[in-house]
Symmetry: C2
Subunit: 348 residues, 2 copies
DNA sequence: TTGTACGCGTTATCAC
DNA sequence: GTGATAACGCGTACAA
């Protein structure tokens, strides 16, 4: 595809017997141009259907009004919402968003980082892939003078701006709620512990148990149960134990919680009377399962907005190197039928 | 933020007492460079942490390895999936994706188009906003020598590449299925008729009725019922009629179907025995409602891939102006409990 | 095989 | 207020 010739500021200048620099000034409202010529320039620019070439402009100006985003998957609810929030704010500021997905692969994440560096984006916003290995690519971002904001899944060891959910607190709240509902043996479905978010959720679980003098039972903690299928399998094992749990906290996602619910239903176990179930993420479907599922809302859209605002307000505006700041958003426990056994009749 | 100086091909050239053009050739594998110097160049490029400046490269080459995408909302399941599919293919080809959302606003859509034109993207992939007014902005894309692919919601009058779902056929299948299940008075929840997709779905509905010699009853067709709330309201009116429908085809979305289901449940109407419900889009939750909801799967991820492949295989490669082609993807009716009243016991 | 010279479209810095 | 010129970083025809 050969791109046909577009009209440039030279074309406009030539037509008006002016100089290109005057045209540039007029179009950018910069420097001095007389009102008359300015109007003339704007008029003929419209006539010739002039469109600025951002490539040239950005090259000359040495920066790019573009922000890169890297997420594991763009069609995962949480990330899609964060991106929606990001786009909302960046659009207002006249910035563009380049979106990449790592597909949970570290190797691909590294490639994404490199293309974004090549693109001279002014900031990279990232949530790392599940098989996070090392952070040389992230350091590379900083070495190239590009701002870096990590969110949700982050590398704790690297000092950058971070926007996080308070996973530990949210998990503690969830488990505390289960305890308050009288559940005695509360199981945990964990995600990969190399990811901060799953580690923190486990900590919250442990912390709640300790605070209420509940025993910590390793046989009730299942590793890597972070898909619907994996958690269904783990649930079967749990519920077939001699002393099965009477509640399961699917800390990885609502899909895991759904797996738990399906297994329980198939086994004829009553939820929430015989088994309490709590998920994580507040996916749309948790509201309409029967029973509806208690879960944690992460305010994903507003998280995206927070991230973007952090960039525009604290990072970009700051001419000195700003001190990497950590913003923590407190998620909200949404209590629904799947854990409300005191008011079992009340189906929400 | 001042971007610190990055290493350029000049820096590499200077260090090796070479010329920048040799460095360029070596890095791009273009032209002739001796193996020795090439290795030397690649080595020092790595040492100096050289990163290409895509801005400069693209400016020089006159084209941009970037594709722009405009959708109403990035966090709507269907669009998120299409984007995921798009990204999958474009990533393989070394292309970047710039994502914009129109927020269902025509004015904003126009602005998005303009920034993408400024960015010199090589292609714009768009699904138009609900308040589609006119197509001057789309024509503008073409006038600027940028390829244009419309998908799903398109402007029929404009001759461009299009990737569509066969909405009419899918709707006809759905309604035919309802008829086969013995439903007699089948209502339709419509979306805004200025959008092709909703118009086509209505046509499919009408066509199925005609083919089976069913009467077409205007009182059973509700306009603009395209959110959960709107369709719940429409459903209430329908079910309170003297002769209420015994089936409702929520042609706008599964969320509408969910609204129908909730209203029916609250009114004590049995689904599917007394009321059949069919949605559209195959949202994840349709599988787990009780009863599960019959719906139409649009193959959204693979639609994204199809669009991208269309660009790379047919449009980009073609040096002559390719003739705008319309690709139609046949959606698939997914039959679930909400319309299966012959085998009512079988809860899927 | 390597070097020279120029231009992509824009903006910044001069001078007038 | 306007014009001339250089430079952003790169790729490419051409010459050596």
């Amino acid at each position: 595809m050969k791109t046909p010739k577009r009209t440039t500021i030279y074309d406009i200048a030539k037509k008006l017997n002016l100089n290109a620099s005057s045209v540039s000034r007029a179009l950018n409202n910069s420097g001095n141009v007389s009102e008359v010529t300015k109007k003339l320039i704007l008029k003929t620019a419209k006539e010739l259907n002039y469109k600025q070439n951002s490539l040239a402009s950005n090259l000359r100006k040495g920066h790019n009004q573009t922000i890169g985003v890297i997420v594991p998957r763009v069609n995962q609810n949480f990330f899609a919402n964060v991106i929606a929030g990001l786009e909302e704010v960046t659009y207002q500021k006249g910035y563009n968003l380049i979106i990449c997905q790592s597909n949970e692969s570290h190797a691909r994440e590294v490639k994404c980082v490199n293309t974004l560096i090549n693109q001279h984006v002014s900031c990279i916003i990232i949530s790392v892939s599940a098989d996070f290995e090392d952070d040389t690519h992230l350091r590379n971002i900083q070495e190239n003078g590009i701002q870096l904001i990590q969110f949700d899944r982050v590398d704790d060891n690297l000092e950058t701006f971070k926007v996080l959910n308070d996973n530990k607190q949210a998990s503690e709240d969830a488990v505390t709620h289960l305890i308050a509902q009288g559940y005695q043996r509360i199981a945990l479905l964990e995600g990969p512990q190399n990811l901060n978010i799953f580690k923190e959720r486990k900590e919250g679980y442990l912390s709640a148990l300790r605070k209420h003098n509940y025993p910590i039972l390793p046989e009730l903690m299942k590793e890597n149960a972070w898909t619907k299928e994996l958690s269904a399998a783990a649930t079967k094992k749990l519920l077939n134990m001699a002393h099965p749990p009477d509640a399961i906290f699917a800390s990885t996602s609502d899909f895991s919680a759904l797996g738990v619910l399906e297994v329980a239903t198939n086994m004829g176990i009553k939820v929430p009377a015989e088994l309490g179930i709590c998920g994580y993420s507040n996916e749309a479907f948790t509201e309409i399962t029967s029973p509806s599922i208690t879960t944690v809302d992460q305010y994903s859209v507003s998280m995206g907005k927070t991230i973007a605002n952090l960039y525009f307000q604290e990072i970009k505006s700051d001419n000195k190197d700003a001190i990497p700041k950590i913003v923590s958003i407190k998620p909200k426990l949404i209590i629904r039928s799947s854990t409300l056994r005191n008011k079992d009749e009340q189906r929400i």
